[in-house]
Symmetry: C3
Subunit: 315 residues, 3 copies
């Protein structure tokens, strides 16, 4: 694993939340909170990244996350270039690094990398010059660290704290980088109980998510939860499992307003988007008063601004 | 139909020119005129939209219109993000609105939307938060309001007025959003006579374009016109009509310098572009002294700046 | 050939280095050198092009060159729009010029054009208004003038001079615009000996590269060289030649550390990228101490800034 910190202990890359200290996560969240503005107000802007160039290297289509990073960087005064490149090891590793080093020579200082394969962002981070930072925008099913941070920020905003809470992560936990990064953020921040709730085929391996409670039925998993984090179900996954079609999945694991009543009365509902409405979540729940889904999106920009402002050193 | 104005009467969305008062249109044109600069001079710029984010959502390819909106927004100091998304109702309505609301949560304040289907921009306008504006950049065959405004501005610059003029709109009027928006702009501004000139199969329905004179032969329709607005003919349309191929269309409805002599000697020629030279218009006419086609393009940026500066409220 | 200079002798377009005087090239290099910053420092920025709009019209995919021009323009304060358009004469010449003139009417002041066909950039330069400049970013196999300048700048930085040097250009010289522009830059700057080194099928025609020494074996061509410029070999070319596959080419014409010893001990190695590692160049040479490849990339932005700042006249 590539080291994420510099020798002075400061954060240089953000590839995973695993191994970050509570103080490091707290600092990022506090910084992000400073960038939060209510809907309808002008967004926070600064010139903290003036003269800095950020390259978005997305090999998986993800308009939402790409634009979130792009706006975060631009609102801090950075130049942003977007590239759709084949970074994966299918393209030879060397040509991938050639692309990155070429961009580095063009004075790109920060690489934001998303790839369906695991390991690419780490490889890049291991190869770039000391002044360059690499941020993961989603890596296979391994990590999505800014998503984990925005989830933690959203929970804290809505519930006032992380400690003492019971959080249920529901759906295709096995393949979910969102679940893994949320797990690392929330356990580090002292969550009381973290539950993974999934059909048996979509539960993670036994060695994963240590300390989490495991449920194979949603009703039991919801019981008394403060936070219900729904995950997106990939249609491909359902095809793998003869028992699962969209309607079936909704009946077995979809979050309905009826089921939501099993959680605490003031429980909040989260989803990383894009949603399959009527598959993993009912529309009235997604748009209902307990939903924090739009806050998550808004917090995403604030978190990405905080991460960028943290890893880039002043000129 | 979604209301375009706020309760205080100010313009919030621009989806159609239909229903706008003469005073509202005059104000937009006056504002646009302020942004006009001669070719070769630096374009007008300001910081009126600093801190504002504009999203271009184009589902039909239209480099020219997209860049016109993009430069208009950036020259006013806004951030611009370009998205190619499937907004149409073929993609489910809810997922379309999810995309838009996600962008809204990223502090996008203005959506510029172009879609081959009608109704999409209105649906979005009906769903967004009160501080958000939606501008149509072309909606099916229904409306293209900024094109209507730039056409009116161009005519007024060249002829000094709209009132008292005879304007012939020539070509595939039936399927043309350009024709419909020009009709609304020019009739509201008091045009003397508006003519729709088309082969029978391409004339609009009887109930449409009330008050317009209808011609099925171009020579008659050109007679004494002050302004000749040629429309782009879609090759698909010609295939629908066994009698029409490109050469045939040019002979029957193409604007040649010979035909242009039927109009007033100082008549101007317009075209919304892209042109099919040698199909609906001869090259020497498109590039000739009576052509106002390049002014239309230039006025397009000025009009879009005026619309943006009008719908966005000061911070 | 379109004239590149204004009547007052100042540079307006940059389509080729052929015909530029030594003083003109020296001025561009000196200006570029001013924009060079070491890796890890903030890049040079200015507001020299504030209010200017640059359009990148790339019809051949070239992320690296497009981003190099884009960052050069933005770091001088220009707005940049990127278009992927079909400019080639396959699309009719007139519709190509319509696109360009439309952009001109949107107050685009500089066109950066890359096309696999030759002649497109010249045609555009001949058609635009007097205040507009056209820069070639690579034209067929004819010219790539900013590449020629960055190659000259890199050599001068590393060797202190151009005069007196022996430069070997190795590979598919016949089809290479990089070779042609390097030839023009280096001969104008007084290079001592310029060699073209290629398999017989890839040597340029007899009338081309006047004054250059011609070699068909790499070992002889390397002997005593100060600079070894390797060219990218197109896999399509190898298919044309029954004798050449990638392994064969590497054995016959690949630059290995063994072969590099035939050049002067302090010789530098260059490559315009992207590299086919293990085909025209061995990885250890590409990444070794004699390689100036990354300097070339970095100098590319500086050269493009210098060219932009030179052709655009103050407001």
């Amino acid at each position: 694993m590539t080291r994420q910190t510099r020798t002075d202990g400061s954060l240089r890359h953000l590839l995973t939340l695993e191994g970050l200290s509570r103080a490091e996560i707290e600092l990022l969240l506090a910084r992000a909170q400073d960038y939060v503005r209510p809907l309808g107000a002008r967004p926070a802007t600064s010139r903290a990244l003036a003269g800095i160039t950020v390259a978005n290297l997305f090999t998986e289509p993800s308009t939402r996350t790409r634009i979130s990073f792009e706006l975060a960087a631009r609102r801090l005064g950075a130049e942003v270039v977007n590239l759709e490149v084949q970074l994966s090891s299918r393209a030879k590793g060397e040509s991938m690094l050639d692309t990155v080093l070429t961009l580095e020579s063009l004075h790109v200082d920060v690489f934001v990398i998303r790839d369906a394969e695991s390991g690419v962002a780490s490889q890049v981070a291991a190869g770039v010059a000391p002044h360059v930072s690499v941020l993961s925008a989603g890596e296979g099913s391994v990590a999505h660290p800014t998503q984990g941070l925005l989830d933690a920020l959203t929970i804290r905003q809505r519930k006032g704290r992380i400690e003492g809470l019971t959080v249920a992560i529901v759906g295709d936990v096995r393949h979910s980088r969102v679940a893994r990064s949320a797990y690392h953020a929330l356990t580090t921040l002292g969550v009381h109980e973290l539950r993974v709730v999934a059909p048996p085929a979509l539960l993670p391996g036994e060695a994963e998510f240590p300390g989490a409670a495991r449920y194979t039925e949603i009703d039991a998993g919801m019981q008394g939860a403060d936070v219900v984090m729904m995950l997106r179900i990939q249609r491909e996954r359902m095809q793998d499992d003869a028992q699962l079609d969209a309607g079936e999945y909704f009946r077995e694991f979809g979050l309905t307003s009826e089921r939501l009543k099993l959680a605490k009365p003031d429980a909040i509902v989260m989803h990383p988007q894009p949603m399959n409405r009527g598959v993993e979540i009912a529309s009235d729940v997604a748009d209902g008063p307990q939903s924090a889904i739009r806050d998550q999106v808004s917090n995403g920009v604030a978190v990405r601004m905080a991460v960028l402002a943290t890893v880039v050193r002043p000129a």
